[in-house]
């Protein structure tokens, strides 16, 4: 409170953020956030880790157990806008969030890696004050799978924890959609939805009579697997891979395989640990699991690496990943992905001309930074996700519906919505509804709205006159 006049004087409205855990993920998040000018307090039980991080960036370091009330109080978590728990252990992170909540911090982000936990998280979201949770491995897998599934897409944004995706494509003249009004599109009717159309630099939020022309950039909302079918039927080339080889069978590999299989892509995993192979084959019934050494050239050739559409190197050692990617680049035309954990030699890795370098910890940092950027002015509001599309002309927002909201239990056709605004998706207890005029919004749903209006803070703002 002494600082606020100083901040006002400097003209900054940056956030105060406490980061618990100064490991790789914590460091990556801190580096991203400090670049945005936020005020950071970093906490770790290991004094050396705190000192290393707080000496290398302009942040205050606190040594202590970040899951205790006392340490969080010392870090001033009560006054902080956000507490991010990014230690190596899920339980500690969730407990730290609970304690941060007890200190009076309203917003928390936890790193939760175990999917068994993340599936239940929505039940305790309010108790923990959890704004989002981050699973670096899952995020990285999501990133890779999107690029593999729709390499021809212009932009892909995901909502409701990846259950819904907004995909932007350019309409080619061979597509069945050309010269058709949106209401006349019969392919998978009711399961996909056209959200925006960009034509000659102008962005439209179209109604049913809007006619699509060739060269339009159209964004479509749907479940990921349905979107793939739609693009195929509509004769839109989205460059989908058909056969992907994953080298190494770690956490990311599992998440990635799961996603790819769901989208109907063939997956082959090569892993050198026999027990892990058995585990994977039990969890991923449709995938082909090969027990063998990824660095064995004969094995790779015999498993058809030359004919794969995508090769993803996700082994433990960066060197092996880099080496194998360079080899694959020589023998096949596959799209290659290289996992690199060590961020310190980024410039050298860039010079190697690898097609696509994935750094899970860095992606996690960027992901959180993007989230914070999006909700910076609306913390405490009900915005769950925010994307700016078409060069910031349009915002796609995901809201959580409160029971006090005035738009609930009324059919959408009877709501007086703002112009240039559409409700494009409702997610109810994990089920995705692409609403028509007869559908209603219920409390506890999450609702995705697409609009040209800026700065919506609450779902009630979608009504005209608000």
């Amino acid at each position: 409170m002494f600082l606020s006049p100083v901040c006002l004087f400097l003209g900054v409205t940056k956030m105060k953020i406490v980061i618990v855990g100064c490991g790789k993920v914590g460091t990556s998040i801190a580096t991203e956030l400090i670049a945005e000018g936020h005020e950071l307090v970093v906490v770790d039980i290991n004094g050396t880790a705190v000192k290393r991080l707080s000496d290398s960036i302009d942040a205050m370091g606190i040594e202590g157990n970040g899951a205790t009330y006392q340490t969080l109080k010392e870090a001033d978590a009560g006054d902080a806008d956000l507490v991010i728990a990014a230690t190596a252990r899920d339980e500690v992170n969730l407990y730290a969030c609970l304690m941060a909540r007890a200190c009076g911090c309203k917003n928390t982000i936890a790193r939760v890696r175990n999917p068994e936990y993340s599936n239940d998280l929505f039940r305790v979201k309010d108790i923990l004050g959890l704004s989002m949770f981050i699973n670096p491995e899952m995020t990285a897998a999501g990133e890779i799978s999107r690029l593999l599934r729709f390499s021809g897409a212009l932009e892909i944004d995901s909502f409701s924890k990846g259950q819904v995706e907004l995909i932007k494509v350019q309409i080619s003249d061979r597509s069945l959609l050309v010269n058709r009004a949106i209401s006349q599109i019969e392919i998978l009717k009711g399961k996909i939805r056209v959200c925006t159309v960009e034509r000659d630099g102008e962005v439209y939020i179209p109604n049913g009579d809007f006619v699509i022309r060739k060269g339009d950039r159209v964004s479509i909302v749907s479940k990921p697997e349905i979107a793939a079918k739609f693009f195929k039927k509509a004769n839109l080339n989205i460059g989908k891979s058909r056969h992907v080889i994953i080298l190494g069978g770690g956490k990311i590999s599992y998440y990635l395989a799961q996603r790819l299989l769901k989208a109907g892509i063939g997956v082959k995993i090569i892993e050198r640990n026999p027990e892990r192979c058995t585990e994977l084959s039990e969890m991923l019934r449709d995938a082909v699991i090969i027990h063998g050494d990824c660095m064995d050239q004969d094995l790779l050739l015999s498993e058809g690496i030359e004919h794969a559409d995508g090769v993803v190197a996700l082994m433990d050692y960066d060197e092996e990943n880099i080496l194998i990617s360079m080899y694959v680049h020589n023998v096949s035309r596959a799209k290659t992905f290289t996992k690199v954990n060590n961020a310190h030699f980024g410039t050298i890795v860039d010079q190697l001309n690898l097609e696509c370098v994935i750094n899970p910890k860095k992606i996690a940092g960027e992901y959180i930074a993007r989230y914070i950027r999006a909700v910076q002015n609306s913390l405490g509001s009900n915005v769950e996700t925010l994307y700016r599309i078409h060069e910031d002309a349009v915002e796609a927002l995901e809201f959580r519906v409160r029971s006090s909201s005035t738009v609930t239990n009324i059919p959408l056709s009877q709501l007086r919505l703002k112009d240039d605004l559409q409700v494009i998706c409702i997610s109810r207890k994990g089920k995705i509804i692409l609403p028509t005029g007869a559908d209603t919004i219920m409390p506890d749903d999450t609702v995705i709205v697409i609009t040209k209006h800026k700065g919506l803070k609450d779902l009630d703002d979608i009504l005209d006159g608000n």
Binding site: F2, V6, L40, S54, D55, I57, D58, M60, G61
Partner: protein, 482 residues
């Protein structure tokens, strides 16, 4: 080492110094003294050089590591002193450059040792410059730059702070270095203003009040009267000064904790209690010891509190001679000269935090003699202290004693008495100012040879920057490329 960045920082130091000199030229103008010219001239040249250094050699990156941070800080203080001595020398008010330099270093390092027998012969502008040096040097010019220039030192600016701020553990109380530096200067300016107002209320003249406030705030000890604080013959004024000296010897993070309403944390600071404890103990013992020398008990305790406060905070203000005091009192004064103020304050000395740490380490050592397999960590404020901090504190003591002994030998070449030689080193290395004997509160350093003055000037800089930054400059390894 990022030499361009060091030049850049030095450039800013020159600009700030040039700007500060204009306050003095303004003072001279008000009193219609021609000395304004020297301040204007030196200030303009200094600022011009600074602008050149900042503009022409703009550093490519702002990244700074420990070595460069320490070197930049040490060089800044040297440049600051060399340029700061010019007005004294050019105007001829202090005819020898070595003397002028000694006075300037004494000012910036907040030592308060003077080579002037009669300060009242200086013009008002020069007096103002002496006090202003005390004030700027107290909190530090680098800290000022950290508050002033965004992104100085990049993300690693903690190294700059560490080189200039006193104490075994230097951290930040708020996340952003710039805000922290601003808060420190905010509190500093605030306390200075309060003292100024209280002094004015006591009927002190404006010029005297502002100078005395500056010198107290930096715990410097430059007065504007020949008789120093004794010239203000008022219990009220002397007590206000004594209390404020004590306040400026408190770790500034205590004030930050108070402002942010963390009263519990502030009260649990062990160092604070040791500091207050030593002051009370020393006041009582000296008070009883010197009672026969003064007409009333009140007078004796007034003298004893003023001197305790003045010496432990290493300010060095005086309200009369102490050479006739009994041996016990003089020993206590020499002892608290070495103790010094709290870490993170504007005072100098060995710092109470270090003494507390070393005391605890000694206690632990005794425990280990009794229970050789006992596992025990030194704790401070309820937290265990990292082994590295204990190690560096112990080494600091060794280096400190080494510098002290070495300087003492060099100073004794001149052949003054033991008391004068020893307390001269003690008073300069600890940034106190007056020692005992010839260099006591009523004496001065004028009669020493230029060589001795150089040794003592080095001690003052080493003491203010806590040895390492300055010693690093003389280490060949610091200047090697790899």
């Amino acid at each position: 080492m990022n030499k361009r960045l060091i030049v850049y920082i030095l450039g800013w130091v020159l600009i700030v110094e040039g700007a500060a000199m204009q306050i003095c030229s303004l003072t001279s103008l008000i009193y219609a003294e021609h000395e304004a010219l020297y301040f204007l001239g030196t200030g303009a040249v200094s600022a011009l050089l600074g602008v050149l250094a900042v503009k022409i050699k703009k550093p490519k990156n702002m990244v700074l590591y420990q070595k460069a941070g320490f070197c930049a800080t040490a060089l800044s203080w040297i440049v600051l002193s060399l340029v700061g001595a010019m007005p004294f020398f050019l105007s001829g008010e202090i005819p020898h450059y070595i003397d002028a330099l000694f006075e300037t270093i004494s000012g910036f390092t907040t030592t308060g040792a003077t080579i002037l027998a009669e300060v009242e012969r200086l013009s008002h502008g020069m007096l103002m410059w002496r006090s202003l040096m005390n004030w700027l040097g107290g909190m530090g010019v680098i800290v000022f730059l950290l508050a002033l220039i965004p992104k100085l030192g990049g993300q690693q600016n903690i190294y700059l702070m560490r080189a200039e701020s006193p104490g075994p553990i230097v951290g930040k109380a708020v996340p952003k270095m710039r805000h922290y530096a601003m808060m420190l200067y905010g509190i500093y300016i605030g306390l200075t203003l309060i003292e100024l107002i209280l002094l004015l209320c006591g009927g002190m003249g404006f010029f005297d009040a502002i100078n005395t406030s500056f010198a107290t705030a930096g715990t410097g000890g430059f007065g504007v009267r020949n008789a120093n604080i004794a010239a203000y013959d008022s219990y009220y004024l002397q007590t206000v000064i004594a209390v404020f000296m004590m306040l400026f010897g408190v770790n500034f993070s205590v004030y930050i904790l108070l402002i942010t309403r963390k009263f519990g944390q502030a009260l649990h600071m062990e160092e604070l209690w040791f500091y207050l404890g030593i002051i009370v103990l020393s006041t009582v013992v000296i008070g009883i010891n010197i009672m026969p020398l003064y007409p009333t008990v009140h007078d004796a305790f007034h003298q004893s509190f003023f001197y305790t406060s003045s010496i432990i905070t290493t300010t060095g203000f005086g309200i009369g001679d102490v050479n006739h005091w009994p041996m016990l009192s003089k020993s206590i004064i020499v002892f608290i000269t070495f103790v010094g103020a709290m870490a993170g304050s504007t005072g100098g000395g060995f710092k109470i935090a270090r003494i507390v740490l070393l005391g605890k380490e000694a206690k632990k050592e005794f425990y280990l003699l009794v229970h050789p397999r006992n596992v025990r960590k030194v704790k401070m404020d309820g937290k265990s202290v990292d082994h590295n901090i204990m190690r560096s504190t112990s080494v600091y003591l060794v280096v400190y004693v080494a510098v002290c002994v070495f300087s003492f030998i060099l100073v004794s070449i001149e052949g003054r008495g033991f008391v004068t030689s020893f307390t001269a080193v003690a008073a300069t290395l600890n940034n106190t100012g007056p020692g005992l004997g010839d260099v006591g509160p009523v004496g001065n350093y004028a009669m020493l040879t230029p060589f001795t003055k150089c040794v003592l000037a080095f001690d003052m800089l080493a003491g203010r920057l806590e040895l390492y930054p300055l010693l690093l400059l003389f280490t060949p390894a610091a200047w090697k490329k790899s």
